[in-house]
């Protein structure tokens, strides 16, 4: 438990099984405030299930999931966890296709999310500036009034990251942000994520090794629902067990 103090995300002994299949098996790791962490692993290693557990979509069978050292996430639902300050980007770009870019972002702006408050909500000048700022960060200022359906795949991924920023989360979980992106877009996305880390903690799940190398952060390798290896990319790449898992099949 003493490890939990001072961490932004703390998982200890988390197990989840679906019909006997252990998706997560005694998974433990911690993420420090402001840290960016890359999580890699072969298919079925439990990366997405780990995100589901942290964001409240899936309840773990056993184990602790703590946010900021003392907040038990296993008791909360998705909306409560999101309001605490954990944002999630899905693998498939998940934006509101029929709304404009600006509308997508302003819907995600942090604030009172009750039915009543929504009925009388007006965007404040400060929030307006924030939206402008986010549009610049995600490089979609020229597309601000375009409906999201007309954006390219990469732009949709960025828009979703912009929506996460608008939520002003303490922790961002980003699932395969560069899948399907061109090399130039991948490099730009790495830049974008690096600029976000520091202010926010970021956990990136990724397959693309070139991208992970570009991020240049601590890497956690998952295999069969638990941590196989942890350290710099060079360190884990030299790890005999990691080589077996990746090359042995």
């Amino acid at each position: 438990m003493e490890l939990a103090a001072g961490s932004i995300l703390y998982l200890d002994g988390v197990s989840v099984s679906f019909d006997g299949f252990k998706a997560l098996n005694d998974l433990s790791f911690t993420v420090a405030p402001g840290e960016m962490r890359a999580i890699i692993g072969p298919n079925g290693a439990g990366k997405t299930t780990m995100m589901d557990v942290v964001t409240g979509k899936t309840r773990p069978d056993t184990g602790d999931v703590l946010f900021k050292g003392d907040c038990d996430l296993t008791r909360l639902d998705e909306a409560q966890i999101a309001q605490l300050g954990i944002g999630r980007k899905f693998q498939k770009p998940s934006v509101y296709e029929k709304l404009t870019v600006t509308e997508n972002i302003s819907l995600a702006l942090s604030g009172d999310r009750s039915v009543y408050a929504s009925l009388f909500w007006r965007i404040s000048p400060a929030q307006q500036i924030r939206v402008e700022h986010i549009l610049e960060i995600i490089r979609l200022t020229p597309q601000r009034d375009m409906i999201a359906a007309r954006l390219s795949h990469g732009q949709k991924q960025w828009l979703e990251i912009g929506m996460l920023l608008a939520q002003d989360p303490k922790l961002l979980l980003v699932d395969e942000p560069v899948a399907g992106m061109t090399d130039a877009e991948t490099a730009a996305t790495a830049e974008l994520l690096k600029s976000i880390a520091g202010e926010h903690s970021v956990v990136v799940v990724e397959h693309d090794m070139a991208f992970v190398r570009e991020l240049d952060v601590k890497v956690t390798v998952l295999h069969e629902g638990s941590v196989l290896s942890e350290g710099s990319l060079d360190h884990v790449s030299a790890d005999q067990r990691v080589i077996e898992v990746y090359l042995g099949r």
Partner: protein
């Protein structure tokens, strides 16, 4: 595109509201102030018929609020309409007093017929108009709230929700058919005499009912417009298009659905309450699942997600129904089916889309540039 779409939808709503408000004054005036042999005279039965259409239009509007904007397809909305109708019917029954066949001041005829000695507790208060008016909103609203609370919290959605709403209205129909429920069994409630002391058969009462229906429809329409244009409406649309995304943004999806569903049921209940005095009867067949499905068809034909479309759809379809069933009674269901097919195939946005296409030509250049709508 979206800003323009919103504008056009608001314009459609504005024009529809204007037409309704003109009708509020004009139709009763033409009925009351012109001699019955005049070409401009609107006979009582025609006014009552259109009054009925207005109530159906409110029902279609209430369906559009949840289906068109929040993605909740209720196939049991007729239940809320009928409950509102029963609430009003109970008040009208109590107003009959000693003028019933059995002349019992306290008990409605069917209760005397069943040898009941006293009024069931749930009939108390319905001799007061204000109480009945409250119940007309409260009972459908409360049922929708409880039903929605259970359904939305367990995350029942899509077809499963549609099926249980259908089961809800079917169960209520069976219950209301029973004599010992105390709502008149399969005969329902009828033989109404007066409302607030005014004779229901008189021209001026009918004109007033018509005008009140117009105003209620206009008020519901504007309320829905206000809601759908607020951030609440954007969240509803967001839930419709990507429910789990909305949840991960921190919105309590079930709370938003519950609000929309409950409000929608209240509008449906009000529609039912205005319907009953104009048609003179309410019976369990109003709960029939087919009625609810028909109301969904009105909304689909009119154009869902536009608010004014379903109003046009309800009036057009019901006018067609009245006309066909009197001229070519055997053809009506084929005509309805054909209309539904034609709209689905050629007018994906319903009749409202027709209106938009017409409005569109001068507004948007033929080949849209990168963002022609940025000017707003």
């Amino acid at each position: 595109m979206i800003t323009w779409r919103l504008l056009s939808s608001a314009r459609g709503v504005a024009i529809t509201t204007l037409v309704i408000l003109v009708a509020t004054v004009l139709v009763p005036a033409l009925h009351l102030l012109t001699p019955s042999n005049s070409a401009l005279h609107i006979p009582a039965h025609v006014m009552a018929l259109f009054g009925k259409y207005l109530c159906f239009a409110m029902l279609a509007l209430s369906i559009d609020l949840i289906w068109g904007f929040c993605g909740i397809l209720s196939l049991g909305h007729g239940a809320f309409f009928a409950l509102g109708g029963y609430g009003m019917g109970m008040y009208l029954m109590r107003q009959i007093g000693t003028r019933g066949v059995y002349g019992n001041a306290e008990l409605p005829d069917f209760m005397v017929f069943l040898n009941w000695n006293e009024l069931p507790w749930y009939w108390y208060g319905f001799d007061q108009f204000w109480f009945a008016a409250l119940m007309v909103l409260l009972v459908p609203g409360l049922l929708a709230f409880l039903f929605g609370l259970l359904a939305f919290r367990s995350r029942v959605s899509g077809v499963y929700l549609s099926i249980i709403t259908q089961a809800l209205t079917f169960a209520l129909m069976l219950a209301f058919f029973r004599n010992d429920m105390g709502f008149g069994g399969n005969n329902g409630l009828t033989d109404f005499k007066d409302i607030l002391g005014f004779n229901l058969q008189s021209g001026s009462t009918r004109a007033a009912l018509f005008a009140v229906s117009c105003l209620a429809l206009a008020a519901s329409l504007l309320t829905c417009l206000f809601i759908t244009r607020s951030r609440l409406g954007t969240v509803m649309t967001a839930i419709r298009d990507a429910e789990s995304r909305t949840r991960f943004l921190g919105y309590r999806v079930e709370a938003f659905k519950l609000f929309a569903f409950t409000l929608s049921a209240c509008i449906a209940g009000l529609a039912g309450a205005l319907y009953v005095p104009q048609v003179g009867i309410i019976n369990p067949s109003e709960f029939a699942p087919a009625n609810s499905i028909e109301a969904v068809i009105w909304a689909a034909i009119g154009g869902r997600g536009t608010l004014f479309g379903p109003i046009i759809g309800a009036i057009v379809v019901n006018f067609g129904k009245s006309w066909f069933t009197s001229v070519l009674p055997d053809i009506w269901l084929f005509a309805l089916g054909g209309l539904f097919l034609a709209v689905t195939l050629f007018l994906p946005q319903g009749l409202a889309g027709l209106f938009k296409m017409r409005a569109r030509k001068p507004v948007v250049p033929p080949i849209p540039a990168a963002q022609p709508e940025a000017a707003e």
